[in-house]
Structures are given as structure tokens and as C-alpha cells.
């Protein structure tokens, strides 16, 4: 079967604006769904869940969130780690204050709290742009980490200063706490990612997405066609922070189980997510997946290859990882600002014409 749109005519504008206009892409999308929800949960074990799948799912949510703000709306943020921390601490406070509350509700509310905080820190974006905004969000990052460290109320006055997720069950199965089965962690995060990716796709394909992109591409022209820069930028901050807050809540409650803010949500997190977005592709939902997968898999691969295969010391492998990521960032920023997603599009473009390129 050829990768073609020929013979697959669109007879309505609805068909023409669907997510996967080419039948082959649609089939592959369904195949991924079947694999993700029908097969993987049954074969999931602790190693794969903890080393690859759960972090991938959570980072993908965060990357979509940052991509909405930076890739779609053009507002650079270095505060992702701090906003994840807001989600994590909000989730912790909700879990401990209302033990009866179902876990999905905790996570969603944590997202909403983060959305509110995001809007607050987004207010300066109305006045400052680019580099200066990045610095302002960096300040937010440090302020938030400092706040969660400094005010014992946030960690319920625990002696260690850490927050620890108590066990919560959903339909009789633990989804947080030490006895959570690997498949439950995986499935819990996968459902969130699926739903959030679908919502993000909807938001970015229509009016809201066009407003964001208009602000990104040329804010003066956006204003002249009737886009209110205030509400548009703040909506991007709100939606983006909602996603990042959910990612933070899941990262703490489902993945780590216990967290110390500086370690789990420090500036490195902000950069990691930003790199995922850059490598994956600014302004692309698929790119967020690709970037998250790439940066989660790379260290695992290198570790297995260099440490496990060649017997190199662990720290050397870690340095090599940093160098590779650094080089890739530079390459992508210079050569392909639209990241892996663009490479994928170009490959598809070629494939569509193959084997007769003219």
C-alpha cells in the first residue's frame, strides 16, 4: 500500500480539517491506540514503567503544555519546573487535606491551581517580550522553589521537608503509594496524556490556536485583526500551566512517590522540558511526543550501550549524554527550528511522491 492521498478525496470542509487527513496516518494512529491501551498495560513491568513509559507519558504532558505557550503562542518560559512544583504541591495538599477525594480529581484540581498561578506569572508578558520574559519566568522558577522549601505549610511540616504521596486507589486498584502495580501507574498517566493531547489538538486547530499563533507570528498584526493580546496571552499561560501542573502532580504522586522540590522540580526540569520542545518541534503536538520520547530514551539507551555494553563508567556516560543533547539543541536551533516533527513531515512529503518525485 502506498502512502497517498490520491483517491482519498475530501468532500467536505470537516473532512479536510481532520487530524489525520491521510488514511494511512489514521490507521497508524489507531494502531498506536490499540498498542498503548490494549497491549502495553498487560505486559508492563516495573523496569519499563519506571525507566521509560511513565516518565515519557508525564514529560509528554509537560512538553505539550510548554509547547502551547512557547511553540504556539511564542512566549518563552523557563519556569516549567516551578509550575510542575505548583502542581505537585497542590496535589499533595489536596490528597492530605481531603483523603476521600478521587485521585483524578486531585490531579485535575492541581492543574487548575497551577493554571491560576501561571496566569499570575503571565501578567508581565503583556509588557515584556522575548529575552526579558524568559528572565522573568526564570525568576518565577527560583521564587517558587524557594517558596515550597521555605514555607513548612506546603510540606505539612514534615521533618525531612519532603512531600510523600499517600496511597490512593481508583476502582479498587492503587494508583499512588508504594504498592501501586506498574500497569496501573502506566494506565493512569496514559489516560491523562491521551485526553490532554486530544484537547490540545482541538484547541490548536481552531480559533484559540489561531489567536495564539497570530500573537506568536506578529503581535501587531494580531491586534489589528481584533485579537486582544491580554486575554490571548493569558489564556495561553493558563492552558499551558494547567498541563504542566498536571504533569507535576503525576510526576510527584504517581512516578516519584516522594519529592524534594529543588531536586525534583529545579531549573534542570525547566531546561529538560524546553529541550524536549525544541528537539521535538515548536508548535507541534506530535513534536512534544517525539521530544519527550527522545530525551527519555536517550539516557536509557546510552546507559545500556556504554555502561552495560562497553563497561564504561556511569559518570562518563552521563557526560556524553549531556554533550549529545547540547549538540542536538544547537543543530536543531540552527538547522531545523521545527524539530523532529518537521523532519517527519519532510519524510512524509517525500513518501507521498515516492517513487516518482516529479
Amino acid at each position: 500500500m502506498f502512502y497517498r492521498e490520491a483517491g482519498d478525496f475530501k468532500t467536505s470542509y470537516v473532512d479536510d480539517s481532520q487530524t489525520f487527513p491521510i488514511r494511512f496516518d489514521r490507521m497508524r494512529y489507531y494502531a498506536v491506540l490499540v498498542l498503548g491501551f490494549g497491549i502495553l498495560p498487560f505486559v508492563m513491568n516495573d523496569y519499563w514503567a519506571n525507566a521509560v513509559f511513565v516518565p515519557f507519558l508525564i514529560y509528554a504532558i509537560a512538553a505539550i503544555g510548554l509547547n502551547i505557550l512557547t511553540g504556539y503562542c511564542g512566549q518563552v518560559s523557563l519556569g516549567t519546573g516551578g509550575f510542575m512544583a505548583v502542581g505537585a504541591y497542590a496535589c499533595y495538599k489536596l490528597m492530605t487535606a481531603f483523603p476521600w477525594m478521587p485521585m483524578p480529581v486531585n490531579v485535575l484540581l492541581a492543574g487548575l491551581v497551577t493554571a491560576g498561578v501561571g496566569v499570575l506569572f503571565g501578567l508581565p508578558s503583556l509588557r515584556i517580550k522575548g529575552f526579558y520574559l524568559a528572565v522573568a519566568t526564570l525568576a518565577a522558577q527560583f521564587f517558587l522553589v524557594w517558596l515550597f522549601n521555605k514555607v513548612p505549610w506546603f510540606y505539612n511540616y514534615s521533618a525531612s521537608g519532603q512531600i510523600t504521596a499517600p496511597e490512593r486507589t481508583l476502582l479498587g486498584v492503587a494508583v499512588t503509594g508504594a504498592s501501586t502495580p506498574a500497569w496501573a501507574k502506566y494506565l493512569f498517566c496514559a489516560v491523562f496524556l491521551f485526553a490532554l493531547a486530544w484537547l490540545a489538538r482541538n484547541l490548536t486547530r481552531g480559533t484559540v490556536g489561531r489567536k495564539w499563533m497570530a500573537i506568536r507570528d506578529m503581535d501587531i498584526a494580531a491586534e489589528i485583526i481584533g485579537v486582544n493580546p491580554l486575554t490571548t496571552k493569558l489564556s495561553a499561560f493558563a492552558v499551558s500551566s494547567f498541563y504542566i501542573g498536571i504533569a507535576g502532580a503525576l510526576f510527584f504522586a504517581v512516578y516519584l512517590g516522594a519529592a524534594e522540590v529543588g531536586e525534583a522540580f529545579g531549573i534542570q526540569k525547566s531546561f529538560l522540558i524546553l529541550f524536549m520542545v525544541i528537539i521535538g518541534g515548536l508548535g507541534s503536538i506530535f513534536g512534544s511526543f517525539a521530544g519527550a520520547a527522545f530525551l527519555v530514551l536517550l539516557p536509557v539507551l546510552l546507559k545500556n550501550l556504554l555502561v552495560g555494553g562497553l563497561g564504561w563508567p556511569t559518570d562518563l556516560a552521563a557526560h556524553i549524554e549531556l554533550m549529545i543533547v547540547g549538540a542536538l539543541i544547537i543543530v536543531f536551533l540552527i538547522l531545523e527550528p521545527h524539530g523532529l516533527a518537521q523532519l517527519w513531515r519532510v519524510a512524509k512529503e517525500k513518501l507521498r511522491l515516492w517513487p516518482f518525485p516529479h
Binding site: 470542509y13 480559533t207 489561531r210 507570528d217 501587531i220 494580531a222 485579537v227
Partner: protein, 273 residues
């Protein structure tokens, strides 16, 4: 022709021009010490094609920027639909039914032609964040409705073949046309065009003239345009404002303006010597 009749007038080619749609009263605009506009008054009538001409730096673009809310004049009043307009932001002006194009094209380079034109309809689309997030239902219905309208504009301006092309890849002339399409998509009451034909070849200019006349004719859109090409101005416009060094030195039908000695001195004399 009786251009001073408050009820409007009928043009030589039989088009009915209505009452005053927009009136600029004693506008003065300064940038620090530079006076870009000095005490200028003129009106724009419903259904009219109104030209603003003048040498480089005369203050023409500044005048459009005052109308569209980018610049706030130090003195003077803007009246629209018979009411004095409070100072407002450009996006509020857009929501009142005023659309424009720029002297230097201002398109969204990262978006396709279709998406660019769809942005023109943002003021008309009402579904909120929640509708958009759920997509099925209201948002999708609205998207389809507006897509149909946009396709009509795409047909009208003959740009079907580049519908899905990213705007960044288009040649200059087509970009100008897409920018016009985006402005038209808003179904504006008043359309402001800042040098819509600058930098175009003869053929592209002819196309653009035809589009402007058709827009005015078919949709009854009032148009105010800045243009340097005198031939074009004489052909297109019903009335012309002439500016020089921020002052108004002439105002009236093209023939009348052309024979005004001040205008010949300041403008025509300079560019046609």
C-alpha cells in the same frame, strides 16, 4: 456631482454614495518634536473609495494608524457612525468593523494561507475556550460555516492554488493579495489599504485594481486607500485627500484635485518633472 450633499451623491458611473461614515476632525499627531499630522479634517462616506495621496513622509500612513487605533492623536476627534469615538486599542477598532492592510506586509508567516485568512474572521467567531477544547459540536460547526465564507473569498481573489501553502513561501505580490483576503474575511464596514499596489508589476496592479473595485461594488465596502500611482488613484477613487508635510493641501474629486495649483506644486510637480 455634488460631494457636499449630506445625504450622499451619485457617482459618474452610477454608484450611490451614502452619508458620512467616518469623520476626522482637526487631527494633530506629534512624535516628540516632529509633527506628522497638523490639524487635518476630512470625512469618508458610506460606499466610497477614498484615496489619500501625498509625497513620501507626508503623514499618510500615520493617518491610517490614527484611524485604526495604533496612534492616539494629541488633538482632534474621530467620529464613526455619527458618534465620537473614545480612545481605543487597535483590537477594539477591529471589532467595530474596520480592517486594514499594511504598507509592509503584516501576515502570519508561520501559518498557511487558509489559516491566515481564517484569522480575519476571529472577530466574528464566538465559540469559547471550552467549546474549542471539546471541538465536536459548536466549534466544529462554526469552523465549517466560516470556512465556507473564507473559501468564497479565496475564489474571489483567485488564490485557490495556494490555499495550504505557508505564507512565508509566497512571492510578494501574492502576499499582498492574501493580506487583502484576510482583511476582507472580517467583512469590514471600512477597509483601509496602505499602498496595496506598491512594488507590483503592471499585471498584478491591474488585478489588484479589479479586486478593489469588485469589493466596493459587490459588498458595498467603504474603502480608504493610500497610493502613489496617480493613474491608479484617478481611476479608482471617488474623492482624494492630498497631504504634504502633515498638512492637507487638497480634497475633492480626482479631476478637481489634479487641477489644484497647490497640489501640482507640492506633489504632481515633484514626481512628474
Amino acid at each position: 456631482m455634488n460631494a457636499m450633499n449630506p445625504e450622499g451623491y451619485v457617482t459618474a458611473d452610477g454608484r450611490k454614495i451614502g452619508g458620512v461614515l467616518m469623520e476626522m476632525k482637526n487631527i494633530t499627531l506629534r512624535f516628540g518634536g516632529v509633527k506628522a499630522i497638523t490639524d487635518i479634517s476630512f470625512d469618508i462616506r458610506e460606499g466610497e473609495i477614498r484615496a489619500i495621496i501625498g509625497p513620501n513622509g507626508a503623514g499618510k500612513s500615520s493617518m491610517l494608524n490614527v484611524i485604526s487605533g495604533f496612534y492616539v492623536p494629541q488633538e482632534g476627534e474621530v467620529w464613526f457612525h455619527g458618534k465620537k469615538r473614545a480612545p481605543m486599542k487597535p483590537y477594539q477598532v477591529a471589532q467595530q468593523g474596520i480592517a486594514r492592510t499594511f504598507q509592509n506586509i503584516a501576515l502570519f508567516e508561520g501559518m498557511s494561507v487558509l489559516d491566515n485568512i481564517m484569522t480575519g474572521r476571529l472577530t466574528l467567531m464566538k465559540s469559547g475556550l471550552m467549546d474549542q477544547a471539546m471541538w465536536w459540536g459548536r466549534a466544529q460547526r462554526e469552523e465549517t460555516e466560516h470556512r465556507e465564507k473564507v473559501e468564497k473569498i479565496i475564489d474571489f481573489l483567485e488564490i485557490q492554488h495556494i490555499r495550504k501553502t505557508p505564507v512565508g513561501r509566497l512571492p510578494y505580490g501574492l502576499k499582498k493579495r492574501v493580506e487583502l483576503a484576510r482583511a476582507l474575511a472580517a467583512e469590514p464596514k471600512l477597509l483601509l489599504l496602505d499602498e496595496p499596489m506598491a512594488g507590483m508589476n503592471v499585471e498584478e496592479k491591474e488585478d489588484m485594481c479589479r479586486f478593489i473595485l469588485d469589493v466596493n461594488d459587490e459588498f458595498g465596502t467603504t474603502i480608504t486607500l493610500i497610493e502613489h500611482d496617480m493613474g491608479v488613484v484617478m481611476d479608482l477613487s471617488d474623492r482624494v485627500v492630498v497631504m504634504d508635510y502633515g498638512k492637507k493641501i487638497g480634497d475633492g474629486p480626482p479631476d478637481e484635485v489634479r487641477s489644484n495649483p497647490d497640489v501640482i506644486n507640492a506633489y504632481l510637480g515633484v514626481s512628474h518633472d
